[in-house]
Amino acid sequence: MTAPYLLIEDLAKRYPGSSEPVFENIRFGIERGEFVCIIGHSGCGKTTILNVLAGLEQPSDGHVIVDNREVKGPGLDRGVVFQGHALMPWLTVLQNVAFGVRSRWPDWSADKINEQARKYLEMVGLGHAMDKKPSALSGGMKQRVGIARAFAIQPKMLLLDEPFGALDALTRGTIQDELLKIVQATQQTVFMITHDVDEAILLADRILLMSNGPRARIAEIVEVTMPRNRTRAGLHHDPQYYRIRNHLVDFLVSRSGGDEARNATHPVTVRPGLEADANAPATTDSPFVRASTELAA
């Protein structure tokens, strides 16, 4: 068995002055081309894990291995989309993306750099706003520029820290669709933090559930067994959706603070979407499935 593309082993983070680690014994792997979401309550250290993956923070214990090499610091092989978009307000939209492109390929001519930046801005639907300053954009548009900047350097892996957290529901939906399209087209490996259960189900192949901090761990890994060509509009027609959703909400509401979750040493992988299939024929015509779907709705 070969090692996964990204491997995290026994990761822990202690902040000075605090006796207990924020999280410990974190271990998981991400395969190439996989989309993994992480969900947990505030304070369980999700952002810290992402920052460690990005190389922006050092773990207290454990290590991160990407492509058989240990991560020691930030690098261009991992593109980061920050929570607060982190655009430079003195640059135009195009210059912001071009700044990343120039960092990735310093030898390129200005024309080639701008061409690459334009291509990715067109991809996120911002072809018309390239010469605007970020202050003239809406929150959703700013976040799209951040996504374009991360994609434009063609990283091996994308790290997204709650990229849509600050957006209203409508805008969030549109950008989720766009992200889904881009990721499906580029086969990008993605690690994403989210608070939104539906967002995780829509986008992820696997969802990591974290128990509450301090001493947070990964309690469970939920495999999203629905076919990969999901759409936001069609998602709730799939009976698996409700089973997965209920499982996630149950965990967040009642189990994430419990002893079972908090003492998990090796997270179990569960497939709540397929659970019904074990007991009943896997067709939506099954009375059992229909009943449970209606209940959930």
Partner: protein, 282 residues
């Protein structure tokens, strides 16, 4: 917008006219006290003693100051010996000293401010020195400068240097230390080299604060140059004021005061424009 501007301009003009009017009234020769030749003195002697001249307050009326304006502005660049130069030449000397001292201060303050802003260690190490040196009046350095440099012109430039240094240094350090963590993290994840990071991320992010410091420095430098030139003498607008005071030519002194104000305002406007150029909206 436009009628507002018109109104404020009219009001400014009204205030100005009223000020000139009061000035004119206050400096009018007194009519009641007509000069009389004292008893037992020949009229010729009294005239020689100035006793028959109309009594004046001594402070020049607006018209006289106006004539000084016309006289100096109509020929600003003449040079008739060390004590008689046109106002343009005097201003040129002052602006040259201020510019040079300010430039030297910027060359020292901006890189040093970068270092202080980026390194808490350097900040803590240099902070006591800055705190003690900052409140010293720049003119207090003058004797030391004259003794060590032994050149009054360069001493003047040194005084400008030392007074421009602190606001720029402190503001640069403050601006650099306050660059948003996110922007630095973006630069880190993009593996931006330190020099490029300093020039393309930190400098533009801190530029508004740095320019605020530069604007304050320039303001102080223009205040200090007048006093410094009164001390070192020779040339410059400060020396001009002192020289005209020694001549007891008050209209010329008033003219110089107004010119100092106008030039200071122009310098400040210049920096305000620069500031507008680098300010960004978040």
């Amino acid at each position: 917008m436009k009628p507002e501007f018109l109104k404020s301009t009219l009001l400014s003009l009204a205030i100005f006219c009223r000020f000139i009017g009061i000035w004119q009234l206050a400096t009018m020769p007194k009519e009641s006290a007509a000069p009389q030749t004292p008893a037992g003195m020949s009229a010729e002697y009294a005239a020689l003693m100035g006793l028959t001249a109309p009594k004046q307050s001594g402070f020049p009326p607006p018209a006289e100051v106006g004539r000084a304006f016309v006289k100096f502005l109509s020929d600003p660049f003449y040079d008739r010996g060390p004590n008689d130069k046109g106002i343009g030449i005097q201003l040129g000397h002052s602006l040259g000293r201020v510019g040079l001292g300010f430039l030297l201060a910027a060359i020292v303050a901006i890189p040093l401010g970068f270092a202080i802003g980026m390194s808490p260690l350097i900040y803590r190490a240099l902070d006591p020195f800055i705190q003690v040196l900052k409140p010293i009046s720049p003119l207090a350095w003058m004797p030391l400068a004259l003794y060590t440099i032994k050149d009054s012109g360069i001493s003047g430039i040194f005084v400008i240097f030392i007074c421009s240094l602190w606001p720029m240094l402190i503001n640069t350090a403050f601006g650099v230390a306050g660059v948003r963590r996110e922007w630095l993290n973006v630069a880190r994840t993009l593996e931006v080299r330190p020099l490029r990071k300093a020039l393309t991320v930190i400098l533009p992010a801190a530029a508004p604060t740095i320019l605020t410091g530069a604007r304050i420095s320039m303001g102080i430098a223009w205040l200090v140059i007048v006093a410094a030139e009164m001390l070192v003498g020779g040339t410059g607008i400060g020396y001009f004021v002192w020289n005209e005071w020694n001549n007891l030519a008050l209209p010329n002194v008033i003219f110089a005061i107004v010119i100092i104000g106008v030039v200071g305002m122009v310098l400040d406007r210049f920096f305000a424009t620069l500031q507008k150029f680098v300010t960004y909206a978040e």
